[in-house]
């Protein structure tokens, strides 16, 4: 499918465990993500997919395990550190800045790259103005790529759900990430919106070489897009491999379809 070559491992999780009180969200998960690949995470509701994503970029702190990113071994990831190291993400329940325009939301994705201090910005003269305009130009490229030029000045709170998801992708892309974490980017979308979103994800992956980790429920999308699929169920890893292998795996089928003849010990 893709012309890009899958590179070495860029992110590895080793034996990650996470619990909230008595609830075990993740039980000893290990998996890796290779450079330039699209890595899907699937599983039934409550399987721990979002928790896993939250562990990767430091929103949650795991009780056990290691995160190896870009060759550095960490006990936990720090959110800012994750952002600085080139991780960007979207959320399952859109986490846009509701009071701000589409353009401003996308511009926040570039905050880490802006250098002027607040006094320079207060003067808005010289360096601060040049910086704003340079970053505006980059934000506009993303707006053009996502085909939302007509909405740039609209407050995101007024946009329909599908477009909000698109803006959130835009904000993540604005940071020029090397690793993009997408939490159900197509949830609640109609067929055309899904197709658009798939196109954006593929374009980003193939043209910019961005590594993508995505959680998705639409099996058609997962099978078409992803290079490798990780399957979770009740916080356990029950499958990991190429889409065709995973689809044929009886454990995965059981978890998804509730096969009554499933093997013992995986209730």
């Amino acid at each position: 499918m893709a012309a890009r070559a899958i590179g070495p491992v860029m992110l590895e999780l080793r034996n990650i465990a996470l619990s909230f009180g008595g609830v075990q969200a993740l039980r000893g998960i290990s998996f890796d993500v290779r450079q330039h690949e699209i890595r899907a995470i699937i599983g039934p509701n409550g399987a721990g997919k979002s928790s896993l994503l939250n562990v990767i970029n430091g929103v949650y702190v795991p009780q056990q395990g290691e995160i190896v990113f870009q060759g550095r071994v960490r006990r936990r990831m720090d959110r800012h550190e994750a952002a600085r190291q080139g991780m960007a993400r979207t959320f399952q329940n859109i986490a846009l800045f509701k009071g701000m325009s589409v353009l401003d939301n996308i511009m926040t994705g570039r905050l880490l790259k802006m250098r002027c201090n607040f006094l320079q910005q207060a003067l808005y003269w010289g360096a601060a103005q040049r910086e704003e305009i340079a970053h505006r130009a980059r934000a506009e490229e993303i707006i053009e790529f996502l085909e939302i030029e007509h909405l740039r000045k609209t407050p995101v709170g007024r946009l329909p759900y599908g477009l909000q998801k698109r803006v959130e992708l835009g904000r993540a892309l604005a940071a020029e990430p090397c690793l993009l974490l997408l939490d159900e980017p197509m949830a609640g979308m109609n067929v055309e919106e899904k197709q658009d979103m798939c196109r954006y994800i593929l374009d980003v992956n193939q043209e910019l070489g961005t590594t993508v980790v995505l959680i998705e429920h639409d099996m058609g999308v997962v099978m078409d897009l992803s290079d490798r699929v990780l399957v979770l169920d009740y916080g356990r890893k029950i499958g990991d491999g190429r889409p065709a292998e995973v689809r044929a795996d009886p454990l995965v089928v059981a978890a998804y379809l509730g096969n009554p003849s499933m093997p013992e010990g995986h209730a």
């Binding site: 926040t108 905050l111 002027c116 207060a122």
Partner: protein
């Protein structure tokens, strides 16, 4: 028909990022500035300058400060008046104890002192949010006023705790007349309003709004919450502090710590709510509204053939209207007068056609 953007093509991002992208707005703004800088000093009498325009401008600056903190960065504060007090007393002491200091420097240092106090009382925002933070800023309000009253050093051991603002003079010119004080206030307010506008439309403004709208997402895009919140506290307190300096030196002349009571903090908060959260224009509209409302009501009531009205009716009516209006704005237009202005402009673009 006059308010049209047809034919105004923006061909660069610099054009699009201007404060007033529309030519009509720009012209109107320059006309307003010209009126404020030239027209008013020539035409207005002392009553207008002293009792109306100067306080409106000073409170606009204070409201601007609170708006940066509450409207933009989303941190509710009830300590604005205390930071005004810090500014006023700091400037007083700088000028008293360092007589060589030119007053603009003392003014700025007054603001900086208030900013430091704001930083200190902004520290709890690291741990607490919303109403709890509001209560923490309430501590600032009471603590600062208590300190200024308790230690007579701050008021130079004046027996009543009242300080009398020194005469401002710069290069031999003394600011004694209402016009000169008005112009001084106007210069300060226009400069710092511009700075506030610039900050809020730049990266730091976006960081503030991001923290306001969703702090988890803000931290995920790489915003460090603490420095961003503290900067909002510092900048906001600087503005309030400077407003306090101007209040003491260009408006009242003699102030005591109790003048900067919780009551005043609430009035500034009302200005922000009525004017419009997260709007520079709103700070001015809100301040004008809250300052002018009592004056206007007085005039109306005194014009009525109201000998039969009980004494104190006017001031009670004021309070009732105040409360009523706050509730009205919270329910009907939480984004305040600034939003109404924006709606009016959007309507005007189409007028006289319905669509």
């Amino acid at each position: 028909m006059l308010y049209r953007e047809a034919g105004q093509f923006k061909s660069s991002y610099a054009d699009d990022q201007r404060i007033f992208p529309l030519r009509q707005d720009r012209h109107a703004f320059w006309a307003l500035l010209a009126a404020a800088y030239v027209g008013v000093p020539l035409l207005a009498n002392d009553y207008w300058l002293q009792a109306i325009l100067t306080p409106v401008l000073i409170f606009s600056l204070a409201a601007l400060g609170l708006n940066i903190l509450t409207g933009y960065a989303g941190q509710l504060s009830l300590g604005s008046a205390a930071f005004m007090a810090v500014g006023a007393f700091a400037a007083y002491n700088f000028m008293l104890r360092l007589p060589w200091m030119p007053f603009p420097l003392a003014f700025v240092l007054g603001g900086v002192t208030a900013a430091l106090a704001g930083l200190l009382f902004g520290l709890p925002s690291f741990r607490i949010k919303g109403y709890y933070l509001a209560v923490a800023t309430l501590a600032a309000q009471f603590f600062i006023i208590w300190v200024l009253t308790k230690f007579p050093w701050f008021s130079n051991y004046s027996s009543s705790g009242v300080i009398t603002a020194q005469v401002l003079s710069l290069a031999g010119y003394k600011f004694l007349t209402p016009v000169s004080k008005y112009l001084l206030v106007l210069i300060c307010v226009s400069l710092f309003a511009l700075a506030a506008k610039n900050m809020t439309r730049c990266a730091i403004g976006r960081a503030w709004m991001a923290v306001r709208d969703m702090d988890v997402a803000a931290s995920v895009v790489g915003i460090r919450l603490m420095p961003v919140k503290l900067l909002a506290f510092a900048v906001s307190s600087f503005y309030c502090g400077l407003a306090g300096v101007l209040y003491a030196y260009c408006y009242i002349g003699t102030v005591e710590p109790e003048a900067f009571s919780l009551d005043l903090s609430f009035r500034i908060l009302f200005m922000v709510i009525v004017g419009g959260m997260g709007s520079i224009l709103g700070s001015f509209l809100g301040a004008a509204f809250i300052v002018l409302l009592p004056i206007g009501l007085d005039h109306i009531l005194s014009a009525l053939p109201g000998a039969w009205l009980p004494a104190g009716f006017g001031s009670n009516l004021q309070l009732m209207l105040f409360g009523g209006l706050i509730i009205f704005f919270l329910i009907v237009e939480p984004q305040g007068l600034a939003r109404l202005w924006q709606i009016a402009k959007e309507k005007l673009r189409l007028w006289p056609f319905p669509h």
